[in-house]
Amino acid sequence: MSNKPVYDREHHVKKATGIGDPQCFTGEAPAAKFKVGDQLRVRDLPDLFYTRTQTYLRGTACTVSAVVYESPAAEDESWDNTDKVEWFYSLVFKQSDLWPDYPSAFGNDTLETELPERWLESA
C-alpha cells in the first residue's frame, strides 16, 4: 500500500454539488468594503504566476455597478485554496480611459467586468 499523504481532493466539488459555484461560498466573505456607485481604482498588484485581473485595467478608475457574489480570488482558487472568500464587484470603465487612441466619436463607450475586492481601492 502507498504511504503517500491523503488529501481530500473532492472537498471543493462536495461543497459545490447541488448548490453551485460561487453560490457555495455565500456568507463566507467579510462585509463588502464597497457599494454600488463607489468610485474605485484597480490596484497594480504583482501578476506573478497567475491572475485573472486584466493588465490593461491596472490603475484605472471605475464605478461599481453591482456587488455580485462571494468567492475565493482566482489567485487562490487556482491552487485550490478556497478558505479566503471575498466579495466580487461588477465595474464599469470608460473605454477612453483604457485605450490611449480610442476614437473620441465613441467617447461614451464603456467596458464592464468583474474583479475581486483585493484588486480594488477607493479612487
Binding site: 501578476d47 497567475y50 491572475t51 482558487e77
Partner: protein
C-alpha cells in the same frame, strides 16, 4: 529529430541574446514582461488573425468531457485548469498549440502531478497506442 530545427527557432523570439543573462541585463520592464502570465484576457498588442467558424472535432469534444470529468472527481477546479493550460504551459506552447491541444496536454500533466499515474506509465501507454497506428 527534425523537430529540433523548429526548437532552435523558439529561442530568439526577443531578437536579442538571452541565454542566462546576468541580473543587471534584466531591467524592470523585461522582468515584468518575462513573468507576466499568458492569458486569454485580451488587451495585448498582437497581429490580426482571421476569424474562422469551425466545428469542433471528436477529439476536441472528448478532451472537453475528460477535463470536466476530472473536475467532477475533484482532480482540479476550473481555475486550476485554466492556470495550467494558459500559464503553466508557457508562452511558446500557449501560442503554438491548438486550444484543445493545451487542454489535453494539461489533463495528462495534472494526472502525473497529482500522482494518479506515473510519467513512465504514461510514456508506456502513449507508446503502446502509437504502435497501433504504425
Amino acid at each position: 529529430m527534425r523537430h529540433l530545427d523548429i526548437v532552435k527557432q523558439f529561442q530568439p523570439s526577443l531578437h536579442t541574446e538571452t541565454h542566462a543573462p546576468s541580473p543587471d541585463m534584466v531591467d524592470d520592464d523585461h522582468y515584468r514582461a518575462y513573468t507576466r502570465s499568458s492569458h486569454d484576457l485580451g488587451g495585448e498588442p498582437d497581429i490580426p488573425i482571421t476569424w474562422e467558424e469551425k466545428e469542433e472535432e471528436i477529439w476536441e469534444h472528448n478532451t472537453f468531457v475528460t477535463c470536466e470529468v476530472l473536475a467532477w472527481r475533484g482532480v482540479w477546479n476550473a481555475e486550476e485548469r485554466r492556470r495550467r493550460q494558459n500559464v503553466d504551459v508557457g508562452q511558446t506552447i500557449y501560442l503554438g498549440l491548438p486550444y484543445y491541444g493545451r487542454w489535453l496536454m494539461t489533463a495528462a500533466l495534472i494526472l502525473v502531478d497529482k500522482q494518479y499515474v506515473t510519467l513512465s506509465e504514461l510514456q508506456d501507454k502513449i507508446h503502446e497506442v502509437r504502435q497501433r497506428y504504425e
